[in-house]
């Protein structure tokens, strides 16, 4: 489903190279974890996948369902089925959350040639998704993410993911800022989305989240490359020995 080939990317503004030849393949139905120390390029990878303009791809390619997405803007990628759950979801004053959900869902449906959802159907779906994430509907009347706690923001991200039904979910440090109860709720939300035709990429610094979202594969990003890949045990190994041991191995 996702093939990242020799991906090089730099910060557009100052040319700093962050990704230095990432190779990664994630199949449909697979849950892949990407781990790595701070500064290894994890967040950059997620932004480059989503198409953020602040980064320039200088070499390599990203194939999604067999086709390159490099020329697509973020909205086109999203409509094609790619979803990034942000590490730090933006607060957007003046845009009511409910209105935002309506516009986003219907924009994607329109791009896929589906009919727009009518308000009652939309409300029903939102209510069900919010209930499953133990979210208060009152929150959805507020401006998007404004004044939400860290945990509320992460739940709101998963809510959007459920409603948008993407083919590929990229979760960037979804565990950061969550207490253990919230973490379980969020992980349950993600696990409910596991399906044979959907791939999930979980980016995380710590192994903790992977106790709840158990990955099929684990990849260690180090200095802008995938330094090591393995099965879920690799995450435990990293937890025990730290990245230092691995660095020695990779170097």
């Amino acid at each position: 489903m996702l093939e990242i080939k020799n991906l090089h990317a730099r910060i557009a503004e100052d040319g700093t190279e962050i990704l230095r030849g990432v190779n990664l393949t994630v199949k449909a139905g697979e849950v892949a974890a990407i781990m790595g120390p701070n500064g290894s390029g994890k967040s950059t990878l997620s932004y480059v996948l989503a198409g953020r303009e602040d980064y320039e791809v200088t070499e390599g390619d990203i194939l999604f369902n067999g086709g390159s997405i490099l020329e697509m803007d973020p909205a086109e990628r999203a409509a094609a089925g790619l979803f990034l759950a942000f590490q730090y979801p933006m607060e957007i004053p003046g845009v009511a959350t409910m209105e935002f959900l309506k516009v986003a869902i219907n924009a994607q449906r329109k791009a896929r040639g589906q009919e727009e959802l009518k308000i009652p159907e939309l409300m029903k779906r939102v209510r069900e998704a919010a209930q499953s994430l133990e979210m208060d509907m009152g929150m959805l009347k507020r401006p998007l993410n404004v004044g939400f706690s860290g945990g509320e923001k992460k739940r709101a991200e998963i809510l959007q993911m459920k409603l948008l039904e993407p083919r590929l979910c990229v979760l960037d440090e979804t565990d950061s800022g969550l207490d253990i109860d919230a973490l379980k709720v969020v992980a349950d939300g993600v696990n409910a989305l596991r399906s044979p035709d959907r791939a999930i990429v979980v980016i995380t610094h710590y192994q903790r989240l992977l106790n709840y979202i158990v990955p099929d594969s684990v990849h260690v990003l180090y200095k802008g490359r995938v330094a090591k890949s393995g099965e879920k045990d690799l995450a435990l190994e990293l937890e025990k020995n730290g990245y230092a041991g691995l660095v020695g191995e990779a170097a």
Partner: protein, 421 residues
Amino acid sequence: MNIQTQIRRTAAEEALLEACAVRADGLPGDARVREKRARAVELLKRGLPNRKVEIWHYTDLRRLLSAVPAFDPTAHATPREPLLAGAAVLPVLNGVAGKAPVPAGVTATSLAERLADGSEAALLEPADAHDTVAAVNAALAGDGLALDIAAGAVVEQPIELQNVHAGGQAHTRFAVRAGAGARATIVERQTGEGQALVSSVSHLEVGEGADVAWLIVQEQPAETTHLGQINVRIGKDAKLTLFVMNTGGKLVRQELRLVAEGEGSKFRLRGVNLLSGETHCDVTMVLDHAAPATVSTEIIRNVVTGRAEGAFQGQIRVARDAQKTDAKMACNTLLLSDEGSFSAKPELEIFADDVACGHGATVTEIEGDHLFYLMARGIPEKTARGLLVKAFVAEVIEELEHEPAIEALEARLDAWFAEHG
């Protein structure tokens, strides 16, 4: 050898004086009104103000008013659907007041009558030598509407003063008096078709304890010059919300001259300027806090696209005995094009020593982070920008506490963005 003291008049100045000469005899008015008109014409003969006149600094009228079309006696303006559903529309078509029913508690008189019997005379006096908008209007206006809202009347039905032109020239006056404790929502709609010079001068008196919302909605076509002015006196413990929305016009000057003259009066100005194309739009406010314990807040939000240019001048004067005045002013601009511009000039003149006054002005672009976030959810760029622009100004509109007004103005906003965003 002669020393030339008179600067050569521009074609527009000539045309304006020509219009005054042609119109003079046909306009209603007693001796007092005729005298005021003659003085207004004298003021205009000194020439239109240029940028050296401080209050016209951002709108060099002499340079910008490039042409003054002649009156068009064949122009036929038609009333519009009200902006607020269910509002009582009182039309003024090409400067001539139409007849229409008014809500209970409100009495309407044609301004032509007030000019004919001289009761309007005192209001024809320009504030000073640079009060060009008042002078143009005093010299050329022959009609309009006067409304009297009875003391204690609670007028639920919004009233729309609808000033519509169909090209040429249209000069209109409105005079509204809200009696003590009265409540009303008034829309001053400025619209029309074709190339025109429009002037519209309003006088509003908000009586003791009255609560008035006055919404100026200027949506002139791109060929129209609009010179607007509202003069307001706010009485003791009275409340006024003045909302100004500019979405059109070629050259627009919108003057707001207010006196908080009653102790404990509260004033809110909320402004939304949506500027596109080649528009030049200037909102100039002069607010006198003339009595103690008066409160005012002014928030202006501007969206600028194309080669439009805008300006907001906000002058707040706090008189020596207007202690405990609380005034806060903010002007925020969202620039959507490199060729557009907006100038903000807040000005505080404080003669009292126990006051709280503040102001701020910002110019920003759409936040890249916000745009990326919305797009990452599948919202196409244009729609995402629209949402963010709408969010920027909707905050101000939503303060109106009047659901039909909020809906109508947000619909205007959507329409503007669909066309110009």
